[in-house]
Subunit: 361 residues, 2 copies
């Protein structure tokens, strides 16, 4: 399973051709491609082109609308709810962030809850848009149920990530993007491919017993909330995942808890549908709605430098500031190219030939 | 160490006499008492009257101002920064929530970052104020550094809690109030008193090694971020604690990271003071800024009932909704009284006699 290297520009061309093929207009094609490939650039391989075929299958079964009419259905000066009209989450969440930034310009902060959307890629892409305006960005999304709340066998929550992106001055921005589970599903998929055991505290089996089997989700097991078990604070991870569900779906009218539509198009949709599509929650806060940008940046740089300078436990393994590993991955991958496994290359070429498009270079 | 039972009303009278003694006016006395005892009622024994002597010692050394002039120093329609003028956090955070609610009434949401404050008791007390207006409440605070970020020996963050309180319809509200560490410091104090080992993943020693010694903080050890270690997601707990610090202090001008003033009055203040006092972050979001309250409550009830009805792993140990244990504690304690350990009773009576006030009944 050796890695193929492909340049960001080549992968951009390929991905654009796919989104164009399903009928996205020029702007949406460019935006969806940029949002999707942000994951590949930042080293979150589970959320980039590895999911492109999955998005297209959702379009093929009619669950993704390539020409959505994204509408504001409720608003106040600092809030909005938008109906994503089954558009790609990659696009819908970006539009939500545009509205949040506009509201923040007017009244200091903007908060947009989104219904009737689909998978939005990595949360960081959306949250980071706010950085351009010296704003702090938030992005959350609910997701199909793979996570059991503390004390239960049932899968009732998604990996429901939270991202907060905050600007700094001379230092790079602080970007925390975290699934509210011990480990994101993508981490588990890596272990499946390597046939390695998962650390305890990542998953449980169908009966709720602790297990290290990385394939256990295929036989009724569940991911565990951040913390792993009650003694180690899993009730906190569960509460955080629940908060994401409330903001993304209970405020917007999207589906929630076990009723969030599954990502794989072949998995049947839940029979009961208390809402529409999946939900996101997007926020933007103008720094200068609180304090002068200059003062804030001065202290933010000092904060960041303080953490970087902390005494390491092991020599050479220094404290990271949230966003560091992803930024380093992006620098390397923009220069050297993006590594794709043989499996992904084959999948993408199969997709291309199915759609009558050229293979990857 | 048998428990003494004391009624809520008796404990209220006692606590009020103490706050009155240090010069709080009638309104502040009533408010500070209600905020402090919310912890005792809700079963968070570490944050209630057990800290009363500590608050008074801070007043004695001049770090708490009993007659603060709490002022808005920066604002937009949806935001404010307030200077707490070294007031009791119990009072300052409540005032911040009043402003957040007022902003939310005007423009949908309100967000207040607070500088120059002190320990605010339990976050849930402040966040829950928003429930009265059918709003979702947020409360965060930074705290003195006891927590080491992933890969470091140094204590750079407090237990930095996050609380979100969201109303429901017929069901009681959802109230998640969580320290961003594996276990709150209060949990560790319980083990110290019982001389029991802590689970692995709660603390590390001064060299950063895993340990189960609950007294390790007294010899340079540190609490661990939620997750415990890198394999179990401690970088996520660290990121969450960092987010609380950014919102509470970097936005307000309070002290942050290792420079947050210590709670015990005998611990020397940090030499460097990049800000003022400790910081909080308070938010209020009108539900009807997103959706009709009626629809929201219908779905929130369904969400809550779905979780309560989840299949338990062990018979009888059902899934809890965040806020359940605390609400049950409050019901029991309002009826039967609040249990105080002999140590706490002695400490409170020593405080009373030092201030020339009557003992506990």
């Amino acid at each position: 399973m050796s890695d193929h290297l492909i340049s960001y520009d080549q992968l951009t061309d390929f991905t654009r051709s796919v989104f164009r093929h399903i009928g996205c207009n020029a702007d949406d094609t460019a935006l969806a491609t940029r949002a999707l490939l942000a994951a590949d650039l930042r080293g979150i391989d589970s959320h980039g082109v590895a999911r492109l075929s999955g998005y297209i299958r959702l379009w093929e079964v009619g669950r993704v609308n390539a020409t959505p009419d994204i509408r504001v259905i409720h608003q106040t000066p600092s809030t909005a709810v938008i109906d994503g009209d089954r558009g790609l989450g990659l696009i819908v969440a970006s539009r939500a962030m545009d509205i949040a930034r506009e509201n923040a310009k007017q009244v200091g902060t903007g908060w947009v809850s989104v219904q009737n959307s689909n998978h939005f890629g990595i949360a960081a892409f959306h949250a980071m848009q706010a950085l351009e305006d010296d704003m702090i960005g938030w992005a959350m999304t609910n997701a199909s149920p793979l996570v059991a709340p503390t004390f239960s066998k049932d899968r009732l929550l998604g990996t429901n990530p939270i991202c907060v992106a905050a600007p700094a001055g001379e230092e790079p921005p602080f970007v925390a993007d975290l699934a509210t589970t011990t480990a994101a599903n993508g981490k588990l998929e890596i272990l499946q491919r390597k046939n390695s055991a998962a650390p305890t505290g990542w998953v449980q089996d169908a009966e709720g017993n602790s297990t290290t089997d990385p394939n256990i989700l295929k036989s009724g097991g569940a991911l565990l909330p951040l913390g792993g078990d009650r003694d180690h604070g899993s009730h906190k991870g569960y509460a955080l995942g629940a908060i994401v569900d409330l903001f993304s779906a209970l405020l917007s009218g999207a589906n929630y808890a076990p009723w969030v539509p599954p990502f794989p198009a072949y998995v049947p949709m839940p029979v009961q549908q208390p809402g529409k599509g999946i939900g996101h929650f997007i926020g933007a806060m103008r720094v200068d709605a609180f304090r002068s940008v200059e003062e804030y940046k001065l202290h933010m740089d000092q904060w960041i430098r303080g953490f970087r300078a902390a005494q390491p436990i092991r020599p050479g393994q220094h404290v990271l500031v949230p966003g560091d590993p992803e930024r380093e991955a992006e620098q390397a991958r923009r220069q050297k190219g993006i590594p794709l496994s043989t499996g992904i290359v084959e999948e993408l070429n199969a997709l291309a030939s199915r759609l009558g498009l050229p293979d990857l270079p």
